[in-house]
C-alpha cells in the first residue's frame, strides 16, 4: 500500500518541527524556572524538568502511536471517544481527587490525569464528525443547536469540577462554526454585547446626583443616554421604513444587557473572578492580592529588557516572585531571561504554527479533516491568546496552560494528541476521495 511506504514523506514536517521546537523551548524554560544549585542533573525526576522530560518522551511515543493508527479510526470512533470522555468527566466530577478545591484529577499511584484536557480533542472530533455528515448545514437552526450541545456539554461538566479556565476554552469552537458558515452577525452581536458589558462595568460605580434626593447610578445613566440617542436616531432617519421598531428593539436589548451586568457580576461570578476583572480594567489596584500575580508577572517580563538577563539568570522567576511560574506563568521566565527578542520570537513561532495549521486545514479534501483542523487551531489559539494575554496584563487571570510550553503531563499529552491526529489526517488526505 502506497501510504505505508510514504508515511514519513507525507507528514507535514513544518508543523512537526514547530511542535518540537516549542516543546524544547518549553522544557528549557521549565528547567530555568525551577533551577537551583542543588539539583542540577537534567534527569532528576524529583524536579519538574526531569518529570517533564519523561512526559516529553511519552508524548513522542503517543505521537508515533497516533501516526500508526489508521486514519479512518478517528472519524469512525469520533462519537465513541466523545461519549467516553463525557463519562470520564462525569466520573471525575464525582470521584476525582480534590486539588485546590477542584475535582479535576484522577490519580493512579504517582500519576495524575486530567480528563478535561483530553476532552478537547474528543469534542473536536465529535464536532467535525457531526458537521461533516451529509445534509448538515450550519445555516440550519437545528445544526446550530446540536453543535451547541456538543460543545457546551463537556464545558458544563468541566464547570462542575469547577475549572472555569478549561470551560472557557470551549468557546474557541465558535471559530470552527464561523469557518463553516456561521453568520458574521453572531460575532457582531457577541462583540457588541461584550463591549457594552465592559463599558457598563467601567461606569457602574458612577453616581449622578439629581435634585429631590434622586441618585442615578452608572447603569441608569447609560440607559438614559441610549434612550436619547435612540430618539435622535429615530428622528434623523424617520424616512426609513421600520426605523423606530428596530431602534426600539435594539434599545430594549441593550438596556437588558446593561441591567444584567450587576446581576452577573454580583451573583454569577465568584468574588475572585470579579476582582480579577476589576484589576484588569484598572478599576481596582490590588498589588498584594488579586493584582499580585499580574503585577509580578509584568515586573518579571519587563525586567528582561530588550535581550533578557540570560539563560538561568532571571531573578524574579528564580526567587519565586512569580507564582505558578513553570505552569501558567511560564511566559514570565521566557520574558525575563530572553527579553523582548526571545518573547517576540516565541509569539512568532506560535503565529507561524497557527497559519500553517490553517493552510493544512484548507488543503483537506474531506470536510471532516478540515473541520477538525480548525478545531485544533482554535483550541491552541485560545490557550495562546489568554495565557500570554494574562501575563502581560491584557487578559484576566484565567489558569490555562500555554500549549507545548507549560509544565504538565496531561496538557502536553492532550495537545500532542490534538495536533498529531490532525497531522495524521493530513498525511492521509490523498487517500480520501
Amino acid at each position: 500500500m502506497r501510504n505505508r511506504h510514504n508515511i514519513f514523506q507525507l507528514l507535514d514536517w513544518t508543523t512537526i518541527l514547530l511542535y518540537l521546537l516549542l516543546v524544547f523551548i518549553g522544557w528549557l524554560n521549565i528547567y530555568a524556572a525551577v533551577y537551583n544549585e542543588e539539583h542540577q542533573s537534567i534527569l532528576d525526576i524529583t524536579q519538574r524538568y526531569g518529570k517533564q522530560l519523561m512526559w516529553i518522551g511519552a508524548a513522542c511515543v503517543l505521537a508515533i502511536g497516533i501516526l500508526l493508527i489508521d486514519f479512518r479510526f478517528y472519524s469512525s470512533f469520533g462519537y465513541a471517544l466523545y461519549i467516553t470522555m463525557i463519562f470520564l468527566l462525569i466520573a471525575v466530577a464525582l470521584f476525582g481527587t480534590e486539588v485546590k478545591g477542584a475535582r479535576s484529577w484522577f490519580t493512579f499511584g504517582g500519576m495524575a490525569i486530567q480528563p478535561s484536557e483530553f476532552a478537547k480533542f474528543a469534542t473536536g472530533l465529535a464536532l467535525a464528525k457531526y458537521l461533516s455528515s451529509m445534509n448538515v448545514k450550519v445555516k440550519d437552526l437545528r445544526t446550530k443547536l446540536i453543535s451547541g450541545v456538543i460543545i457546551i456539554l463537556p464545558a458544563l461538566l468541566i464547570l462542575l469540577q469547577p475549572d472555569t479556565g478549561s470551560t472557557l476554552v470551549y468557546a474557541a469552537f465558535i471559530i470552527v462554526l464561523y469557518r463553516e458558515g456561521l453568520s458574521g452577525k453572531y460575532f457582531t452581536v457577541a462583540m457588541s454585547v461584550a463591549v457594552l458589558f465592559v463599558f457598563t462595568l467601567l461606569v457602574r460605580n458612577l453616581e449622578w446626583n439629581l435634585p429631590f434626593d434622586f441618585t442615578l447610578s452608572g447603569g441608569w445613566i447609560l440607559v438614559f443616554i441610549l434612550a436619547i440617542a435612540a430618539v435622535i436616531i429615530t428622528i434623523v432617519f424617520r424616512k426609513i421604513k421600520y426605523v423606530w421598531q428596530v431602534v426600539l428593539v435594539l434599545f430594549v436589548l441593550s438596556s437588558g444587557v446593561i441591567m444584567s451586568v450587576d446581576y452577573v457580576f454580583d451573583n454569577i461570578l465568584k468574588p475572585h473572578q470579579t476582582k480579577r476583572i476589576d484589576v484588569l480594567l484598572g478599576l481596582e489596584e490590588d498589588l498584594k492580592g488579586a493584582g499580585y500575580n499580574v503585577n509580578q508577572s509584568m515586573i518579571a517580563i519587563g525586567s528582561g529588557g530588550g535581550f533578557g538577563k540570560g539563560y538561568l539568570q532571571g531573578t524574579q522567576t528564580k526567587f519565586d516572585f512569580v507564582p505558578e511560574q513553570s505552569t501558567d506563568f511560564i511566559f514570565c521566565t521566557i520574558g525575563e531571561e530572553w527579553g523582548f527578542m526571545g518573547s517576540s520570537i516565541l509569539i512568532s513561532l506560535f503565529i507561524a504554527l497557527f497559519v500553517r495549521l490553517i493552510m493544512l486545514a484548507e488543503r483537506q479534501r474531506s470536510s471532516f479533516s478540515r473541520i477538525y483542523g480548525y478545531g485544533v487551531v482554535s483550541i491552541l489559539f485560545f490557550h495562546f491568546a489568554v495565557n500570554i494575554g494574562m501575563t502581560i496584563g491584557l487578559a484576566p487571570v484565567i489558569g490555562i496552560p500555554l500549549p507545548f510550553i507549560s509544565y504538565g503531563g496531561s496538557s502536553l499529552w492532550s495537545f500532542t494528541i490534538l495536533l498529531f491526529i490532525f497531522i495524521k489526517l493530513d498525511s492521509d488526505r490523498l487517500n480520501i476521495l
Binding site: I175, I301, G306, F321, I351
Partner: protein
Amino acid sequence: MNNRKYIIGFSMAFLGLIFIVRLFYIQVYTDKYKLDSRNNVLRYITDYPARGLVYDRKGRLLVYNQAAYDLMIIPKQTLPMDTDEFLNLISLPKKDFIERYNKARKYSSRKPTVLVSDLSAEDYGKLQEVLFKFPGYYTQPKTLRKYPLKSASHLLGYISEVDQQIIDQQPYYKMGDHIGRSGIEKQYEEVIRGRRGRRIILVDVFNREKGKFEDGAYDTLAVSGKDIYLSIDAQLQQYGEQLMKNKKGAIVAIEPKTGEILAIVSKPDYDPNMLVGRIRTKNFERLKADTLKPLFNRALMASYPPGSTFKLINALVGLQEKVLTPDTKYTCYSGYNSGRFHMGCHSHASPINLEFSIQTSCNSYYSNVFRSIIDKYPTAEQGFNVWKNYVNSFGLGSKLNIDLPGELGGFVPSQSYYDRYYQKGKWGSLTVVSLAIGQGELGITPLQMANISAIIANRGYYYTPHLEKSGFHQNIQKNETGIDTANFNLVVSAMEKVVENGTGRAARKEGIAICGKTGTVENPHGEDHSTFLAFAPKDDPKIAISVYVENGVWGARWAAPIAGLMIEKYLRDSISDPALEERMINGNLINPDEE
C-alpha cells in the same frame, strides 16, 4: 466561505502583533518594571558597628557594650510545641505570649518580628541550648550600653534610636541607628559611633537570603567606633557623688596645669543604666517629671551667683589697677555705709588689711575696693568696662567651651545692661556695689567657679577645661588674665590663711597646703547656698575645685568640708577624718526631716 480563512488567519496574526507591541512597551520602552524588579530582589542589610568604649584617666572602664539578644519569631515556620516549657525559659506569661504571637502574625507570617527584646545573657544561654526544639524562633544579637560604675550619668550621657527629625537633618542616620543624645555620647558621636557597613543581598519571595549581589562589589564593611579616654578620675567622681548624696548642687575638679576635668558631679542624678534598652522611655519620662530635675546638669547649666568667692577676683583686679596694696586698710563696723546705703557684715576686728579681708571675707572691704576700681576712671562707665574686661578674662560671662553639650555661659552684666536698667549716666559705683561681694546680677556655673580656682592656682592663666584625653579634642587653648603673678601670690597666701585659720577651716587637712575661699550666697527662696573654691597643694597645684551646695547655709558648713575631703581623696587616696566624711555623706538637705 473562502475569504473566511483569511479573516481567521489575519485576526490571529493581528493578535500576535498586539502582543509584540505590548511586550515592546513593557520590556523596552518603559523602565517602571525594571525598577520594581530591583525592589523585589535586592535587600540592603545594615551591619551595625560596635560603639566605642569609654575609659577614665587611669584606664578604668566607664562605658562598654553588653551583648543582648532579641528573640525573634517567624510565625509561618512555627510548629505545635511545648509552650509551657518555652515560656518558662523566657519568663513570659502565656497571655502576653498569645497576644504578641497574634500581633506578629498580623504583621507578617513570613517576616521576622521581635517577640521578646533584650533577653539577658542568662536567659539567652538557657534558651539557646533548647531552641532547636522550637522551629520558627531564633535569637538576634545586638548591643546595649552598660555603665559598670553606675556613675557619672550627666557626663557620659545616653544614646537612643534616631527619630524622624534627626534623619531629616543628618543624612548619615537611618531608621534603627543609635545616636548619642547627651554628654560624651553626644559630644564625640562621630568618633565613637564608627561607620555603618552595608551589604546588598538577593532574596527570594519569602525573604530568604540567596547570595550576594554582584559578588559583594557594592558592599562596605562596618568600622568599629573608636574608644575614648577621659580625664575623669572615676574614683574621685564616685566619691564626689557619694558626698553629695541627698543634696542639690555640683562639684567640679580640674587639674590646673592642663585644664583636664577630674570630676564633674551634679546632684541629684540617676543611674545611667536606667536609660538603656527597653526601659529607657519609661524611665526617661519619670526622670523628666521629677521636681528635683535629675536630668539637669547643674555643673554646666546652673547659673548661680558666686557669693564671696568672687571677692578674690575683685582683690586681684584692685591690685592690678593699683588702687589696692597689701597694706591698704579699710574699716568695717558691722558693714559698709555710704550715705543712706548700708551693706551688712559679720563682726570682726577693724580696720583690716587685704590678707585679713580675704581670711574673714569682709563685705565692707570689698565694697571699698570695688568702688575704688570703678571710681579710678573719669566716668563710672569707663571704670566699669575696665573691671568687666578683667572679669571676662577669668572665663566668666561666656562659655568655656568644655567638650560637653549644653554648657551655659553664665552672666556678667554689661554697661548697656545697666544703661537700660538705670538709664544712661544715672548709675555709679555705689549703684552696682553688690558686684563687689559676688551678688546682684552675676551668674556663674560651678564649672566656671572651678576654673577661677584653677586660674588662681596657675597664678594667672587657664587651659580650656576638657574631658577628652585621647586626641580627638582639637581646641584646647591657653588663656591669660593679664594680671601679674605677684598679685596672684598675694591672694594665694591669703587663701591659705582662709583654710588654716579663717572661714574655710572646715576644709583643713593636716600636711596639705590647701588654699580656699568660702562663699555664702543669698537665696531669696530659702536657705542660703553654700559654696567653696579651693586648690592644693599651694606651690604645686594638682587639683582645683569648686563645690556648690544649694541651701547649705554657710560656705563653711557643707561646701568647705566636702572640698577638703575631695582634695584629700585625690592627693592621698585616704581619709584622715572618717567622722567628718560620714557626716557629709549622711547629710540630707533635700528631705532634712528624714534623718
